[in-house]
Point group: C2
Chain length 194, copies 2
């Protein structure tokens, strides 16, 4: 997705050979127009699928998910990272380890909002080791729902989450795949692969 | 805002005389079309103001903020509730106590995204005791930014956050003001007050 590639080249900051900071437009400050275009691109890539619900995780997955939901007319459900006292015990839960934050969180979704009748598209901002997506797939499986695929804004192609998911037969569509952050420079995967 | 009032009456669940659960459309499952209408209504209410940045807090403030940002062409910045290792130390921070979750969080915003040149609209999903808004006002003050007002989706009029903010001269626009949750029933403030 050219607009996203351009934005990453202009504003992304390479903090190390594994950390790309995009907090000026995606996960701290948010560019709403870019989110709309990202939602539109996800809608195009999964246009062959019936999607009844978009499943994401707080917080940075919410903005692109809501724009996609507006375009295709589907509600968004975001998994919470900690239990809230106003959520009942009626939950699907899974565990997600964040290597960036070096902590494991319980994630949870109310049983009221996912069921075996749902065709779910999972959306998230980043795909690295695939921990968050695995947790969301687990929750979808607990609900007995069908997962049509996974939409990712930025995949770190040099980490193995995308490879593992695709090997399991999960359809993963990443709008930008970063192949390397070596020498302080962002290198994207070729379009053929992306 | 009639659409929002209707949605609260149809789907809101009164859990006690102080807790209204709206997790089917606002803070767990999200109705994207309603979020768009909410963003549109905020844009109308603050149409007399120049807004350079929308400031909210993760997670439930993000969806309405992004829809507003899309309409008025302004970026959204969401305060984080915990420090992330990929955020630098270059932060504005404040403390927010959540009575619902019975915990105090540090909230933080990167100094890169708020400055004295900004005209900020603060947006959040709920206003009860006003703790979150006070933390966001503190962060805006640290940045030396001008705050044009506060846009709230649902204000609990029977708690004192809205009153305290208005007494301080802060312009607060709430799209629904709930005056009472007694007897398991939602009663809205009169339109004149809302």
């Amino acid at each position: 997705m050219k607009l996203l590639h351009d934005k990453i080249m202009q504003e992304g900051k390479v903090l190390s050979s594994s950390v790309l900071k995009v907090d000026s437009f995606l996960n701290h400050q948010i560019d709403p127009l870019l989110m709309k275009e990202i939602g539109h691109e996800f809608a195009n890539r999964f246009a062959d699928q019936v999607i009844t619900k978009i499943l994401t995780i707080e917080s940075s997955g919410i903005a692109p998910s809501v724009m996609l939901g507006l375009e295709i007319g589907a509600p968004v459900v975001f998994a919470r990272k900690r239990k809230s006292l106003t959520l009942s015990d009626n939950l699907y839960t899974s565990k997600v380890h964040s290597f960036t934050k070096n902590e494991t969180n319980d994630i949870s979704v109310s049983r009221n909002f996912l069921s075996e009748d749902d065709n779910i598209l999972i959306v998230d901002d980043f795909l690295a080791n695939g921990e968050a997506v695995k947790g969301l797939l687990d929750i979808a499986a607990q609900a007995g729902a069908h997962v049509v695929g996974v939409g990712i804004v930025i995949e770190k192609g040099f980490q193995d989450g995308g490879k593992l998911l695709r090997e399991q037969g999960v359809r993963v569509e990443s709008l930008a795949i970063v192949d390397s952050l070596e020498d302080g420079k962002v290198t994207f995967a070729t379009e053929a692969r992306a």
